[in-house]
Symmetry: D2
């Protein structure tokens, strides 16, 4: 289940004189809410001063009309966050706003550094202090060390030191700056809006405010937007791009366009490839909503097997933090998914989901389907097996919890109670794209940046 | 758009010695959240005393693990509410708990009385006082007047006076009682759970806690559950059942079973009938998610035209109460729906939704689709035109806001900017069911109970 | 310690066209905060409709500038509440606003009925229902039964039935009504303000808003204020007034004037009488702040013994609900009172407080004083011993917890660890006043109204 | 009115294995609440890790029993804060907890640096970044620069650079450290508690938890407490101590002992000196409660004029943030103080308060007293006139708002509407103490540390 994997952040920035940039950022973050539900923040500059409001919770919980009205200005940057490290504490909410020698900076970060320990050690030895355990505070310190005279030059120097994933939206009193690491691990797009510019983790955020997608910020690129317009700086290092393929498989909104690929279309093609690789004989194709919906459509189209909604989703799922007690163990996944007996009874079904992580949810779903009368259940995943952890901004379980790292295919199938278990092949997956500039570490252990 | 219509309540009750009934009610209400997001409440009896917690907001906001733990007992009743009348105030949250001559009662109500003014007048003349403007407080008073010696007899007498829609879950210190008005306007089902019983507005709530659906509580029936098991009392009055057909069209969860009909299947058939009635030539069938999804599937199947997700929904839509300002008018429906240019460009499309109320949202959606490049747009609705208000528990707009009451088909089509506009016929709709025991007042003005 | 005794309510009402009555009521309640810290509420009428806001907590917690601005009108009534019965629940907060046959009413109540059980029984037998366990809801029902044609006539009839303590501020859409029971148990004063009128539990609330005290509302009187001015109705029953003497001893603000007596002056006289009755030889007079401050002044003046602040009060005392744990038992009363060693060391002291209830706090204070080096401690109380419970609106402990009801003087002295223990005599107390129209039940068991 | 002057902070620290240090710190902060009501925080170490909870509001609002229970350990440090600079924002709440090269540190600070601008400039030039605008963050950075190998050595070096007022409580994973600047501007005391040690801004906090006062931490002293007991390091610089005399005049609790002087006794002596300097003929001495209470007692004793409580204080004053509107201007100070006509009428009175700042409140009080009938009003202040601002941790108004800096004595008297106006002389004030080691800058402009 993709639901067991969590993206760590979404960033947004806008430079638009004459517009209500705080509110536009609010809408932008609202469109990026799926990338982080733990905290949200918006910083705004009016050219002289940076004002900030942030807090724990979803965008709609953190901001009121009143709070937004207090944030007047013409540049804004926003952030939504989910975090695995450092705990879920207010201090870690972003954007981080700080003063350095040249003035004030707000920084929003999506990604994780691979060499953070080493960087921090050096900084501590120079007398630096840290209030959070976030990589982002380390990034700020590295930049501040180098930015004594010019911020962009400071960022360029810092990029030599920073190894790992970082899509940044930086704001000063007068500039909006977008930065993407040379590997391009995490997405970052550039758009145009009423004479101004927008930066966002995904193009769907541009659509929401009515901005037009120009292009992706390129790996290793710095874009600087101010009253003189847009300038681009490129950090050249001969590094092969390594875009996180999991954005296509699960994270990104289906209506986003990344590197020119429409995410929903890619997911549908995954289903089509699955149908070619595993032409299971079945009565029905049943998607696990919503993560398996698009791939299931593709499988049904390619196979000719009818698609049926055999699992209905409670649209409020995810809003409760109360967990069923031991006594209520059977409730489990039912809070989220309801199997439709009328559809499933006596049927041989192909169930499509995006991935299996620990296997516990998949096991519960298969049990639900069986209880509802499904005669034969084949689980097809639109991704290869997860066998390694991610260090570039995604929260998968530890390696020792990954079922595919512990059990072989047959064992996994038995554990899950499925009659068949099929993973999309890595080749099949890559075949959907024109090039192979992806980070595939979670599938094959090839980490583009070594972890220190 | 169904989104402009609001159900006024959901009820839940459970009698289950040895179970954590408060928590089970929490899960039950969670499954009924779509029927009311304004307030939520749970009352629990341990045989001697009724404890209550309720508040404004969604189920997950009102209850914490701690609050639920304080509610120990073996009978529970719960309620979720959305209200048009009496304002959105804490006082109106349900269950209402009160003392009457025989002890304590908790009452949760779904529906609206048609003769509430007359009943209230009589009660006031007897010296009764009212703290809320809810029908439910009137119902309680009527019952209390008659229940001097026996509660069930009191309820039977009260049912002679109460005209209109009321599905009630009543709890005393020792009993759980389900009541459905003789017309059966609103749903109420009975289930079994680990030696106990469950009452709920919809069967999906039974599924969620792992209870088994026994049957619908019948129109005019009282079911009494206590330590002696279940007893049924029937209120006979030769009244023709008038179930709200809009539960099938929009309100009820797709995975609920009402009167033996699986809601999702009914919706799909609506699409199939639409395809027969209006065989539009088009490239694509595009559902308005989520209200038009099932009917669109049906239309696609029957017509052979491929279904495409041309409108993507932000899954957090509905969580923000901040509205776009005048300046941001173009944002409008984009917060909720994102049109996919790649899918829509140059295409002749059939758009399927459940209904049109004021027409404002439909107009915005059609504009979005046009901007995204759709060449021809035919809007098909899986319900007949709304021309009258509802007085039985649903919040449609006033009659003078209903577009179909003001404009004819051609005018409406022009207003919406559609190239075609087609409503499912009333005959076509009824043809899906075996009988015609429905309230159709909103379509044809035949009000089963006169409004006083 | 007076601190162990709690007043149950404060009421306020204002009729003042052209004034911001909600805010004036806010200030009035702020001045009455000592009479109830559990909940607060304000109802306002603009001549057509009654608006209400109330909540749990202190006045300043319940109301914001915004909330007050929403309450526009020219009549207002407010209430602060502390409750012993019915638990501390939002439902019980006042004013209670309800509809009856003639329109709407807001009611705020200070006091307790003695015959509430009987009244409630009769009402239940007529089919009445109750949502709270407050006497106030019973009062409303009794009034509503009688007020079918005229409210004031209804109140007059109700007063025949209502036995016990009730100072009421009642508001309709167009009238402000003050009611005081024939015994006059609890205070209620009438004032003038800029062409309008004010009702309040104490005159200090009039002072705060700059209103002028006219007189006390008399026992058995109804004052009706509307556009025709002020009318008075008197309920004659030959009942001897029985004003709660404890208002003078502890409850009322020192700056209030009740029945023509300035409270602070009365308290000082109590100290003077104490000095005459018990001319203890001592080095210092030490007040227990703030409850014993005025009497200590009086004692010092009459005895010539110097007054010293040997116990300092933390002015934030009372704001924490966290209790010291077992391990921290010695912290106890120190959170509130700090003994000054420099002042106390080696001294023979007279400690003055208003009363002893359970004795636990007095015992702790005496221990503190000893640890701080006091050589001899004589505890003098400005009231006779408490031996009976109150049923008219004050929360003293149950009789079996009252130390003076369990132990004789010598035993009590030993329990407390005092070298001397002296209570003001009843005769001495009454001698301060010109008449003897007091309820003295808590001292002598003479209950003016029998409890049923 | 002292009420117009605000202390900026209170600090507390405890090292006590086997005790519930979080709760003890809670009580300690509760006793120091008068030194800062804006935010509160507690950090606790269990020897391995520092846990922190802080928030906006009073101690009792920020901490719950549950929160305190989460803070387990044997060392704790706490802070209450009021701030003039940097705004009232959560980020500025203390203790600040940060990581530096040697581990973690929590820091609580009372005071203000005089050379913060210069220090910050140097740090920025080294690449330091700042998230707050507090002096405290600067102090941390300076210490971290020097503490690469040993913390205490780092602090000693930092003290050479830090000019101004700083009483610090510093906590590492294993140590509790108290630091007081060489001038000793702000108080800091050391106490003993059950085999452990306590640090606090005032001795009243020791009393509250039952700890014993050992001595003041000396100007320029560092005390280090850990498993080896207590060590003292002294920073020698030949600096003359400059204790803030305003702690005696207004800030400190009357029950605190500072430098061996009992604060309440000092205040009473101020009144006695006033009586000698200004033997006004009057009928009554009336204190402005609570700030003038002790001095009024002294004046009455020395002059033989009787003390009367002619102004009563609402004990909830200070809890509302709603301000009277223009229309309600006459309410003003009445919310806090109520003049007693019975006491004041026709009398010639001496009114005693601690100080006059802007004069607005004093003017209102004199108006109140006149309206209540006072015939002649002489205002006596227990401090010399304020003519300069404070840069060492107290928030007086800007110099241009200080009435004594703008008007001469006669003009001030006329502005206030008093019949007489008398300030305690500086000589008279200093005569109370054995030495003259005070900062008197606010009275005479002699700033012990130059402001840069």
């Amino acid at each position: 289940m993709g639901a067991e994997i969590r993206e760590e952040c979404g960033v947004f920035g806008i430079y638009a004189p004459g517009q209500d940039v705080a509110k536009l950022t609010y809408w932008g973050l609202f469109a990026l809410q799926h990338r982080g539900q733990e905290s949200a923040g918006i910083a705004v500059s009016d050219g002289r001063e940076i004002k900030l409001h942030k807090g724990m919770g979803m965008v709609a919980e953190v901001f009121s009309e009143e709070k937004l009205n207090e944030l007047s200005g013409f540049i804004a940057s926003g952030h939504v966050r989910y975090s695995t490290t450092g705990g879920s504490v207010p201090l870690n909410a972003q954007p981080l706003v700080f003063n350095y020698k040249q003035g004030s900076i707000a920084l929003g970060h999506n990604g994780n550094l691979a060499n953070v320990a080493e960087l921090k050690k050096n900084l501590l030895a120079r007398g630096a202090i840290f209030q959070t355990t976030t990589d982002s505070e380390v990034i700020i310190n590295v930049i501040a060390q180098y930015a004594q005279t010019d911020l962009v030059e400071g960022i360029l120097k810092a990029m030599v030191d920073l190894k790992g994933a970082y899509s940044l939206v930086i704001m000063t009193e007068t500039q909006l700056i977008g930065v993407r690491d040379p590997w391009g691990f995490r997405p970052l797009v550039l758009g145009q809006f009423k004479g101004g510019y927008v930066l966002a983790s995904e193009s769907a955020a541009l659509d929401t405010i009515g901005a037009e997608l120009i292009r992706d910020v390129e790996p290793g690129e710095i874009v600087v937007i101010d009253m003189d317009g847009l300038k681009s700086f490129k950090f050249m290092q001969g590094i092969k791009p390594s875009f996180c393929i999991f954005e296509y498989i699960y994270f990104a909104r289906p209506d986003s366009i990344i590197n020119g690929y429409h995410v929903n279309t890619v997911r549908r093609k995954m289903g089509q490839v699955l149908a070619k690789e595993y032409p299971v004989e079945a009565d029905l194709v049943v998607p696990v909503p919503d993560s398996g919906t698009a791939a299931a459509r593709g499988y049904a189209e390619a196979s000719g097997i009818p698609l049926e909604e055999g699992l209905m989703k409670n649209r409020y799922a995810g809003r409760t933090f109360i967990r069923p007690s031991q006594k209520e163990r059977e409730i489990g996944v039912r809070l989220k998914l309801n199997p439709i007996r009328e559809v499933l009874k006596g049927k041989k079904i192909v169930v499509i989901d995006d991935s299996v992580v620990r296997g516990t949810t998949s096991k519960q779903i298969i049990e639900l389907l069986k209880e509802a009368g499904a005669r034969e259940i084949h689980l097809l995943l639109s991704s290869p097996p997860f066998i390694r952890s991610c260090y570039y901004g995604i929260d998968i379980s530890n390696e020792d919890e990954l079922i595919a790292a512990k059990l072989n295919l047959e064992e996994t199938k038995n554990y899950l109670g499925a009659d068949g278990l099929y993973y999309l092949s890595l080749e099949g997956l890559l075949g959907i794209f024109k090039n192979r500039d992806f980070c595939l570490a979670c599938f094959n252990g090839d980490y583009p940046v070594p972890i220190t």
